[in-house]
Amino acid sequence: MSTRQFGERVQRREDPRLLTGNGRYVDDLGRGALHAAFVRSPHAHARITDIDIADAWELAGVEAIYTWEDLDGRVADPLPVLIPHPAMTHARTGHCLAKDAVNHVGEAVVMVVARDRYVAEDACARITVTYESLPAVVGVDRAREGAHLVHDDVPGNVAANLRQEVGDVDAALAAAPNTLTLELAIERSACMPMEGKGVYARWDADEGSLRLFSSTQTSTGVRAAVAAKLGMPLAKVEVVTPDVGGGFGVKIVHPWPEEVLVPWAARALGRDVKWTEDRREHFVSSAHERGQLQEVTVGFDDDGRLLALDVRFWHDNGAYTPYGIIVPIITATQLLGPYKPGAYRVEFWSLYTNTVIVTPYRGAGRPQGCYAMERTMDAIAAHLGLDRAEVRSRNFIQPDEMPYDQGLMFQDGRPLKYDSGDFPASLAKLKDLVGWDDFAAYRAQAEREGRRVGLGIGCYVEGTGVGPYEGGHVQVETSGRVNVATGLTTQGQGHQTILAQIVADELGVPIEDVHVTTGDTRRMAYAVGTFASRGAVMSGNAVALASRVVRAKALRIAAEALEVSADDLEISDGVISVKGAPGTSIDLKTVAVLSNPLRYAFDTSAQAATQFAGTFDPDKPPVADDDEPGLEGQDFYSPTQATFANGMHAAIVETDPVTAEIRILRYCVVHDCGVMVNPLIVEGQVHGGVAQGVGGALYERMVYDEGGQLLNASFMDFLIPYASEVPTVETDHLETPSPLNPLGIKGAGEAGTIPVSAVIASAIEDAEGLTIRSMPISPAELWELRRQHSPDPVTAQEGPR
């Protein structure tokens, strides 16, 4: 009997390879390839008046220098808008190389291809671009003032304005016994994968074909984009995703200019070309996220129940909108979390600024929405003098109200309808885990020791596993090896482990026999990509369905060979046997031989199969009309809507009474992603998510000056928390199965990140008795807040003692 893998804490199968330095990333490939480097704009907003490349050509080892003028065909066109939306009235995208003007520091202007990266950068240093600088629009305030425009033809810098309303908010607010208005700010951060982007193109002149390796979250998307840009048949373009050192959203954007230019140059030069993004480039030419100003007006009754919620926010989308307005749409819809808002109106303006583009980063708009909602919950509790958990619980959607339709349109254009969840049960677990009811005593004890502590809470609901589809292909070789392919890519999540667990169980084979390939268009041509916490939901169900196809075929063939009914058979440990009569059996690998009428006895399985050769019917073809050779099968999983995971976090922080240093003493997570394929991996995802959340709450921000220069474009000044800054994360799980998919699972990838800023703000507020309206917060800022709030003018000047 094979041990069941699904639901077990199976160790990650990919780790031994990755942890011993045997990973294979884009930069590990392409020895001997030419290297590309880019001259990037030092100006946030400027017209290009001249580009002088003469000096650079003098340098030995320079193979090509390209400006926009050199681009041809569709490569010269603006980059595509990936996800258009009717509300996005003014979508704008850049070019692969800047044409006439630049709109943010870091925009690529000239591409150099040279013998190696050193020479390429030397050449870049010799290129002189003359600019006529234009006023830069930096920050939401400047953007919405509209005194200067990022794009001349976009009035008010407004890329999109979208409003959704459920119920009559004005009437409900007017009738509400209590109302509050909160003005909130949250700053930019970024995905910052340890491996930046990278592209390596191999051009095969004989075949007229291209093989592209990209550090992407969607190989099929890149393939289609590059084929279209380069005017190539899809059949002549292959995109392979080797190991990817993190993505967190930035690598779902495609095609990046470099993803088009590198293969284009490879074809033009007839040589392999590669480009590896360096950290500085990643800071100024990839993508950021999070920056919003928000205004929330809430109406509520004396018990703290929401009657109306009126939200307006201004979203900084950077210089271009290639990825559409997914981020603000998610903020607008997922803001509601586990609550019933009463009447709800949300309106946002997505604004251009002369800064790096804004595209989804783990959480993708949800951290901002959760922050707005949870700050509001705390404000209501403070206003009414009620317990903060109690206020939340009074507004929960109840389990018997599931599925619950919020009446809004979600990011996938489908209704925002929660499939399942038990919020009261989750909250009970969280209160238990963190010791909510004992906190008053804990605080009193801390106070006696001269310490200042606070408790914070935040709840969220996360739409995960959005469609349209993902596929699985499962093939049993005559050796018994099971090859599984799915098209979405992997960036370290553990797909090799969880997909193998699923297939091992569905097929009844040892997990050691299962080999998973992701993100390789040679193995699976139809796929969407890895984002929106969709890997396990989409590909997990797809490989399960594909396994079932293969299993059915295996049983059919085995039934014929053993002359029994397929219903009487079971598969375990790679052996098909008659239930209750284990002696009557056939190996799955033998069935793989039988599935193919071309049966050279090359291997032992084929030799063993001859005993089942049987008699054949001379009137029938060797492969029946409705059959195919081989023991393999494919299926696609396509859901009607997203599944909605949820979670609740609580933290205890300590703030230094003098220096305002902030320490997280405990961090507790209750997490519900439906049925867990592998709790160990779910917890790892949660831990990583919390780490990024802590970064966003206490450390990370993109510091632009007024001229649009990014002042902290390095790991020295952009403070990603080290392991030493990330608290131990205590987790507990609730499993409310999703009714929407065969495995009952929901996504888990982004969960850990979403509420952290809200939770930490809540905890600091609780410790300090100050209102927190802006995140992230540093010790120096907390100290400044204390100074502003100090009633004592001397202390206010000198700082509290």
Partner: protein
């Protein structure tokens, strides 16, 4: 992020190194652990034509302890100094401070002398150098010379070292019997350059303070010494005028605002850290513990 082309020199002796430095003049840079220089080169903030790599130079790797000094050679890595039991016993402040320099990986490569030559006001070891009355041993084209640490630092990243001179060692001064030391700092993340830091030396005579001095990290343009002896001399441990000390620190330091913290915050922090250091230093009975 690749450096501009440079010529790599690998001298085997101090004389050879100095002669190459003399030849290339302002176009040359000494390469020690590379933990400050290489990032600068990779970001092309500087592009010297010649690197004089001293990693193969004989005789620069020793820590020597004499009754007066702990002498640290130019190739002693931060990690080597941190682990050196003799140095820690002779002058506990060295280990107390050096373990605050960056992260283990960087300490394994970066040199203590290099960080003094680099003269970053956010560096820990320049501060320790001035506080212990260290002497910087230099060799130039005209032979060796010695520079008191107090005269060595002239501004942020600026020293009295000439481009053709090599620092071969720094001699940190040992402290009189009955002296306790303390080092503490506060950084945004563990191992980062500090927002503010303080090194403290307190000499006790029985229960009373005989002398006390402090120097700071990240809050003064060059490391210099604040003598607290006038404020503290004769006062008994447990009855120290901590507020007055904090006030003296606030008056002494001259921090700048940056994206991580305002000048006001850093001033407060330096004062508070000194107050805490003084309290800890005088009450903790393991000499020089931190």
């Amino acid at each position: 992020m690749k450096p501009a082309p440079f010529v790599h020199h690998a001298p085997r002796t101090v004389d050879e190194a100095v002669s190459v430095l003399g030849e290339v003049g302002h176009d040359g840079k000494v390469l020690a652990g590379g933990q400050s220089l290489i990032p600068v080169l990779n970001m092309r903030l500087a592009s010297p034509g010649h690197l004089v790599d001293i990693n193969g130079v004989a005789g620069l790797g020793a820590v020597d302890i004499t009754p007066e000094h702990v002498r640290v050679g130019a190739l002693v890595r931060h990690a080597g100094l941190e682990r050196h039991g003799g140095a820690a016993a002779a002058l506990p402040l060295l280990r107390q401070a050096v373990r605050n320099v960056a992260h283990p990986a960087i300490r394994t490569r970066g040199t203590t002398v290099g960080s003094i030559a680099h003269a970053d006001p956010a560096g820990e070891m320049p501060s320790v150098a001035v506080l212990t009355g260290a002497t910087v041993e230099v060799v130039g084209p005209s032979g060796p010379r010695e520079i008191p640490a107090a005269d060595f630092f002239t501004g942020p990243l600026e020293t009295t070292l000439a481009p053709d001179e090599l620092v071969v060692a720094v001699r940190f001064g040992r402290l009189p019997a009955g002296t306790r030391t303390w080092f503490t700092e506060s950084a945004r993340r563990s191992g980062d350059y500090a927002l503010a830091g303080v090194a403290l030396v307190v000499t006790l005579d029985g229960d009373a303070v005989a002398a006390a001095r402090a120097s700071f990290v990240s809050v003064t343009p060059v490391p210099d010494v604040l003598d607290l002896t006038d404020l503290l001399a004769g006062r008994t441990v447990g009855d120290l005028p901590l507020d007055a000390v904090a006030e003296a620190v606030r008056a002494h330091v001259d921090p700048e605002s940056d994206i991580h913290a305002s000048a006001d915050y850093r001033r407060m922090l330096a004062a508070e850290l000194t107050r805490r250091a003084l309290a800890a230093c005088t009450t903790d009975h393991t000499e020089g513990a931190a």
